[in-house]
């Protein structure tokens, strides 16, 4: 590509949602406005080392108010929440928690990955994101453990409690499983 072909991204002021920084502050990201764009977060990010995910850009976009772009981008889901960015930030900005807060906003608009909805459906059905399966039951027995662990897997009343709680919080609706188990 020739230099003359490089297009600059233009940020249009009328397309910005300048309430986003305040919204994030209210979600506990109190120091976000002090970001100096040093890039320590990006340099520390194990996910960004192999993808185009850039934590510094997430913070910049959040401060500019490019909310739609942030919430619709799948990059938001590449963070493993290792918290290295947060630990190394010279201003102690809650970078990881910013991403989690943005994910909450995305999920509330139905912008979740299908695979995450599927995993969450297991939580609703069994009380566990990773429920017991037949091979693991056999492994448990062979080690002298109870075939089913003493969790919701052994106590139907407890599972019912978890399901009631999840429905009360409308988690079933959030993951597209309204009323279902």
């Amino acid at each position: 590509m020739k230099l003359s072909e490089v297009k600059k991204d233009t940020v249009y002021l009328n397309r910005l949602d300048n309430t986003l920084p305040t919204e994030l502050e209210e979600a506990g990201i109190t120091k976000i406005r002090s970001c100096l764009q040093c890039g320590s977060c990006t340099a520390s990010c194990p996910s960004g080392r192999r993808t185009a995910f850039r934590t510094r850009l997430v913070i910049r976009k959040a401060l500019l108010g490019l909310k739609d772009e942030l919430l619709k981008g799948e990059d938001l889901w590449l963070c493993t929440t290792c918290y290295t960015c947060y630990e190394r930030c010279p201003r102690k900005i809650e970078v990881t928690n910013t991403i989690i807060a943005l994910r909450n906003m995305a999920a509330s608009k139905g912008l979740m990955l299908q695979r995450h909805k599927e995993a969450s459906a297991l939580l609703l059905k069994t009380g566990h994101l990773v429920p017991i399966d037949k091979p693991s039951e056999e492994k448990r027995s062979s080690l002298g453990l109870l075939t089913a662990p003493p969790t919701t897997h052994s106590y139907p009343d407890a599972l019912q409690e978890v399901q009631t709680l999840l429905r009360r919080l409308e988690f079933d609706t959030l993951i597209g499983q309204r009323g279902g188990i």
Partner: protein, 290 residues
Amino acid sequence: MDYALYLGCIAPNRYPGIEASVRGTLEELGVRLHDLRGASCCPAPGVVKSFSKDTWLALAARNISLAEDLMKNLMTICNGCYGTLKEANEILKTNELLKLKANEALSSIGRSVNGSIEIRHITEVLYNEIGLDSIREHVKRKIPLKAAAHYGCHLLKPSELRPWGSTERPRFLDELIELTGATSVPYKDKMMCCGAGGGVRAGAIDVALDMTMEKIDNVLNAGADCIVDVCPFCHLQLDAGQLQLNKKLEAKYNVPVLYYTQLLGASMGFDPLKMGVQQNTVNGLRLFQR
């Protein structure tokens, strides 16, 4: 010493050998473990907390309330569960408004939560409460392995609520490993994430596996015989991830992964077979047959 044992999902439901080794070693070390009957997923900090913080807190509060019913502090054996329950418990102790919200939700199932107990990771119980010297008295056999310690992220970070100090160069897991007679070998990017957290294993498996591969390559380059971890989710990623890498890339990764109490148990005289080391994707039995 008494603890409510919080099992989580992956240890009991995929790697029961971890559960067996925890129960065996801790009992021998004089810790009485009480089952948290009817516990659910913690729920996972990178996943459920990413979707709905309210749901995350309410479900965590329910698990904490089970331990409060027993009037016992809660011990987790997983970094993810530790991350969730530690943070949720701190919220319940310090944020009246969110505690009220959690209790409102819990009232629908006739429960309530006070914020009256403490949450500890098994390494905290081993290192800070039982202590290296007391554990050493139970070591009957030295295990001459070169081990690559994998701390995992949520054991250490965010650092505020945790007792460890350094998140860049901690030593406690290395010290726990070395009292078994094993050597903890240094390796490149030792503190790097396994790749599984934050919903990345479920949502972007190729990215997760690429991180795992980097980690395992670094472990191999350091000449380690095995990886030793303290988190069943890291364990799943580092162990089962090798099979996924082998299928995807026609590679031949074959590094055994042990949960810490499987190594400790072997040094305390437990039969590795009874701690399920042969049930891992990469059979760990060969580590003890020399």
